[in-house]
């Protein structure tokens, strides 16, 4: 099977040599699973360490005087308040308060930010930045960089061997240092709920770095299948499923990303709608949904109240290997966004019992040092 229209990451031949099943994702040929399988890869990441290729994501530098203030005109986060060497999760909003993409923003220096955005949105995101603030800042798309994620309870010990000191890097911070002798830009962050690192590396060195990490005890390659089940259990949003242009950060239960100063001053796209929802309450909220039985409820499953009145729909759902049962997220009216609230899920025509649940389904284990 080959599709010549698909882009490949610098680790493409490594994936194939490891026996990965490759699938099209956001225009790239990506590994959905390796011979270990989605279930095994998921559980391995939670108990040991998993290596993910996320090179399809967009990396960029944003540079210039007042770059933080200028980026704040596109996102509701407090970027001016971001400390040197710190990383923050945020979203690009549109004028209606909807979410154009979610992203990670790291402060390299007073006039230099490092951005990581979603693969499927990167072209639009970079065009958006260029159109809105391109005249005042310099956007450099780092297309020649790969991105690897090392996630799991053993990630820190593995990094300590290949980059002594990495084990005490703060959660949500960024630093440049060699890993296995290879120059890297490393954030302590991830998309699994586990402790871990996201490592930006020159494409030419990506395979060498991946091989060095995979050679360490307890590190296994993990595909997109387990990446999805891990982030779902961790209650983390998938752009295009749980958040999109029709959901505001408040509805998505991401109000925590809106800085205090931004709440007072506004000045980001959709501020009127978003700040209005912050004070009056959003009409609906993203919540965890736990089916009471064993049947998974997939995305777009209808959520109703116990009498069958439609409430909303599941936006992400499946089987949680660590939760050992089905888990899901979806939107319900604010009055139903109460843990324990019973609801029904219409799966293959049958109304199955479920209830609103606290997120995450599996506790986060971030580094607290």
């Amino acid at each position: 099977m080959s599709d010549t229209s698909l882009l490949t990451t610098p680790l493409d031949s490594l994936h194939r040599s490891l026996g990965a099943k490759m699938v099209p994702f956001a225009g790239y040929a990506m590994p959905v699973q390796y011979p270990l399988g989605v279930l095994g890869e998921h559980l391995h990441t939670r108990k040991s360490a998993g290596l993910f290729d996320v090179s399809h994501m967009g990396q960029a530098l944003l540079e210039g005087d007042n770059v933080a203030a200028l980026l704040e005109t596109l996102v509701p986060g407090d970027i001016q308040g971001l400390g040197l060497g710190r990383t923050r999760y945020s979203v690009f909003t549109n004028d209606q308060g909807g979410i154009l993409d979610d992203l990670m923003i790291s402060k390299l220096s007073d006039n230099q930010l490092f951005l990581v955005v979603n693969a499927a949105c990167k072209d639009a995101d970079f065009a958006h930045i260029q159109a809105k603030i391109g005249g005042k800042v310099t956007l450099t798309i780092l297309a020649d960089r790969a991105l690897l994620a090392l996630q799991g309870p053993k990630a820190a010990a593995v990094m300590a061997k290949l980059a002594p000191g990495a084990e005490t890097q703060k959660f949500m911070s960024i630093a440049d240092y060699p890993v296995a002798g290879i120059p890297c830009r490393v954030t302590r962050s991830g998309y699994t709920g586990e402790d871990g690192y996201e490592i930006s590396v020159d494409a030419a060195n990506a395979e060498k770095l991946a091989q060095a990490l995979l050679a360490e005890d307890g590190v296994a390659p993990i595909g997109l299948g387990a990446r999805d089940s891990l982030r779902l259990e961790a209650g983390l949003c998938l752009y295009g499923s749980d958040i999109d242009t029709t959901t505001t950060p408040v509805e998505a239960n991401l109000s925590w990303i809106i800085g205090k100063r931004r709440r007072e001053q506004g000045g980001f796209p959709g501020a009127e709608a978003i700040l209005g929802q912050l004070s009056a309450g959003a009409p609906r909220l993203r919540v965890g949904i736990k089916p009471d039985g064993r049947a998974p409820a997939r995305a777009h499953t209808e959520i109703t109240d116990v009498d069958g009145t439609p409430l909303g729909e599941i936006t992400s759902g499946g089987f949680g290997p660590s939760a050992d049962g089905p888990v899901a997220m979806g939107y319900v009216p604010r009055g139903f966004a109460v843990p324990g609230m019973p609801v029904k899920l219409v799966v293959r025509g049958k109304a199955l019992d479920a209830h609103v649940a606290l997120l995450p389904f599996v506790p986060h284990s971030y580094y607290k040092g």
Partner: protein, 124 residues
């Protein structure tokens, strides 16, 4: 006992007028780890090629179609607690349901094992 196969990767083994239905080894491998299976209730009428059962991996849900028409005489209740039986023993303990065939002539439209193996080889 004769075994027949569908292009949708179900098998049916027939003894007299009763058939046992499951999914093939190829199908379980393609699906990956099975985490949920839903089997039809006794007495349910199923039609050839129609929805009969559901099998779900971590990634996705798939329908299991009935290879022939008939009336379900039993579902494999063991799958509710141990869906992984489908991975471990797709043509054995991982069976989905048994049915009383209403039109045994439908079996003639299915493949035998040799033909199915050729069919699968052509997919890879």
């Amino acid at each position: 006992m004769s075994m027949y196969f569908t292009k949708d990767h179900e098998w049916i083994s027939v003894e007299g007028s009763v058939g046992t239905v499951g999914i093939t080894d190829y199908a379980q491998k393609a699906l990956g780890d099975i985490v949920y299976a839903e089997v039809p209730e006794k007495g349910r009428k199923v039609t050839k090629g129609g929805d009969a059962a559901v099998v779900e991996s971590v990634k996705a849900a798939s329908e299991v179609y009935s290879p022939v028409s008939g009336t379900v005489t039993a579902g494999n209740d063991a799958l509710a607690g141990q869906p992984a039986l489908v991975n471990e023993s797709p043509e054995g303990d991982g069976w989905f349901f048994k049915l009383e065939l209403s039109n045994p002539a439908e079996l003639e439209e299915l493949m035998d094992r040799a033909a199915y193996d050729d069919y699968v080889a052509g997919l890879e």
